[in-house]
Symmetry: none
Subunit: 416 residues, 2 copies
């Protein structure tokens, strides 16, 4: 199945935005054996979109389009598809009713331009959008199926999954690309690759071949394993073995093989041990506690957080002695430890974390340059302490500092 | 000047990689009046690339290609361009010599496949690559100029800049696209568009035409204004007037016309008024304080944050009376107000914020469904209170709640 992905929207032809929907679409169509041959981004320009779709119709079995289905004049996807099909656009009264109800439920009145979303090229099937106003569309021309999905990822993804499940997977017959992702933190990419490459390089020639890609993202490394197989069972067997081999050589730096983010991994460790946690953060400004609470159900173990941004707040909120700040500096292992102990002590939790560092761009010194972050994890009064040197801009340093703190907590709990 | 950007490389047709070179290319060609109409990503497939280039040659004045210029069999850009030009590939002896020297300097021997990089479609001009082995190419066919650049950004960008400076800018004569972005929050997209569209629709026909794109992102709406003008001064005049007109009709919902994010806007308001702030957050879990501290220099006004995730912590940390929680529930305007007052009172700041809500997916009730968030802003003891109903997943609700709280703070400070 040859696939073309088209993102529609002039904002994605500016220097400010990228189309990221195509990554999800690629993953989903790969899984049912689809081969993405071309990705295109077109502006809010009917003629240009007609040109791209006409060209794609000559070779593609599936054209997945995102965006341009909203209520404004700029939203031209419906019009372009109607043109290449040479069919009129009809108002679908069920869509009008559904839109009216949706607005009424929120106490709003539907404006006239919202009715544009009810226009359907004749012959198209309407695809429900459970998370938004713009319905999707499915329409066929010759060998080519066109799928029109809205641009916002949280609307697009479930609709794509429904199309894959109901319309595309049944004819795929089980063959496809099957994937696993190992997530690793606390080691540099070159070191991970030096260890992993001798292992994964031999998998490309086996009966169920596995291709491995290494991907460095902020604060972590991912190893993407892609098996090409005629059936899920054969792929699963090969991938299970491959994942186990990599875990053996990479050890405890692998924190997830099932897609869970680090915050969920540490959350599960805390919950399994019936522990609650209190966090005292300075340079991360609340980001660590926020990430811990991104996990649904985290109120089971997150008791509270202190954002001790000023020195006064470090003393008042978590009882860091003024003398410790004076002697060691606000960014020091001694202060991080006092913060972790103070947070746990005042909150009455068995686990406490303290983070203090220099997020930059100002505030660095030759001894403690920007990116220096001291982290302490206290479990039942026993402290584990690290100082890390992080690189990048302010937000990147904050993110990596939160990541390093969660990883230190993970390793501490796993070895306890 | 109509522009098409083509990225070549099969890795960018996987779920793991995006083409980001196109953002830089867009910015540079926009600045000299180039209008990017289409972006495409093609794999290492000569036929497919020939198809895309042939189609682009029908309308584009400039086709900028990145990638596919390396030494391996997969690197097919030179071959595809030679095919559409219908010219042979010649070995350029100067490139061979330069490659040989480069390898020798590093104590390496040039492998045979590196000679592929010395192949030049007859009639093309070679573009120097100061940062890598693959030279670039410039070749013209009819109205269309094709520019071939290597994929790695640190090689691509300086070569692009040289092409712009030496070959494209001289004929552009100062003309270009000039941009402004208005950021708006607290109003739905359809309402913003209904108000703004009658204003901006008339600008497309004026002497310096301005095209306006509306872009809904989580928690905010952006209006992108792009003026096409022969000189920066004319564009600035037209854009200043346009921005002022939109601000008049959209009023205080416009929070930024200079690119600043909301956290920087409220930070500047706090700093200008010599105010410091303390935040008490429940459902946002520290995200609001973290976003406030994303701004460099925010330690001037962020004193501290309390993440009161449990009811006990609401009482202990910011003194919410148990009776208030019992009578009104933890998610209530009364509790939000007590949190804001307690945060400011205990921190000794003139500004306090309290946020309490249901981020979901669990915890909703018919009266207080998931997404219900109560927000209080207290300035010098006077409280401004809002309850909002937000939609989406847990992280989206957290983000929008932080956004709504910052906006309430902004409006309170602006009117004080």
């Amino acid at each position: 199945m040859l696939v073309c992905i088209v993102a529609v929207g002039s904002e994605m032809l500016t220097p400010f935005r990228l189309d990221t929907n195509s990554l999800v679409i690629t993953e989903r169509v790969n899984a049912i054996g689809g081969d993405v041959r071309l990705k295109a981004v077109v502006g809010d320009d009917v003629q240009e979109l007609v040109r791209v779709l006409t060209a794609a119709a000559e070779w593609a079995d599936l054209v997945v389009m995102t965006g341009g289905l909203g209520p404004t004049e700029d939203d031209i996807t419906r019009d372009a598809v109607a043109r290449i099909m040479n069919v009129p656009l009809d108002v679908d009264p069920r869509i009008v009713d559904a839109l009216g109800e949706r607005f009424a439920r929120r106490g709003l009145t539907m404006t006239e331009n919202n009715r544009r979303q009810a226009l359907v090229p004749r012959g198209a099937t309407v695809l429900d959008n459970p998370n938004g106003t713009a319905p999707g569309l499915w329409i066929e021309r010759g060998r080519t199926a066109f799928v029109l999905l809205p641009g916002p990822p949280r609307e697009m993804t479930p609709m794509l999954d429904a199309v894959i499940r109901d319309r595309l997977a049944p004819s795929a017959g089980g063959a496809g690309l099957f994937r696993r992702v190992l997530k690793i933190t606390g080691r540099p990419e070159s070191e991970v690759d030096a260890v992993a490459q001798p292992v994964y390089s031999k998998w490309t020639a086996q009966e169920v071949p596995i291709v491995t890609t290494i991907l460095a993202v902020l604060g972590q490394i991912e190893l993407h394993l892609t098996a090409s197989a005629n059936a899920r069972e054969a792929a699963d067997r090969a991938l299970d073995g491959a994942v186990a081999e990599l875990q053996t050589v990479l050890g405890s730096s692998v924190y997830s093989v099932d897609g869970r983010p680090l915050e969920a991994v540490v959350g599960d460790l805390l919950r399994a041990r019936h522990l609650t946690i209190a966090v005292a953060e300075s340079c991360t400004g609340g980001l660590l506690t926020s990430r811990l609470t991104d996990v649904s159900g985290s109120s089971d173990y997150v008791e509270r957080g202190y954002v001790c941004y000023s020195n006064r707040s470090k003393m008042e909120l978590v009882g860091v002695p003024e003398s410790t700040i004076r002697e060691h500096g606000a960014v020091s292992e001694a202060v991080a430890t006092a913060m972790a102990e103070g947070a746990a002590g005042r909150a009455g939790t068995r686990v406490g974390i303290g983070i203090t560092g220099i997020a930059g761009p100002g505030g660095g010194t030759p001894e403690k340059p920007v990116g220096t972050v001291a982290i302490a994890v206290v479990v039942d009064g026993r402290a584990t302490i690290r100082t890390v040197r992080l690189f990048g801009g302010r937000e990147m340093i904050k993110f990596q500092a939160a990541q390093a703190a969660m990883n230190l907590l993970r390793l501490t709990l796993a070895s306890a």
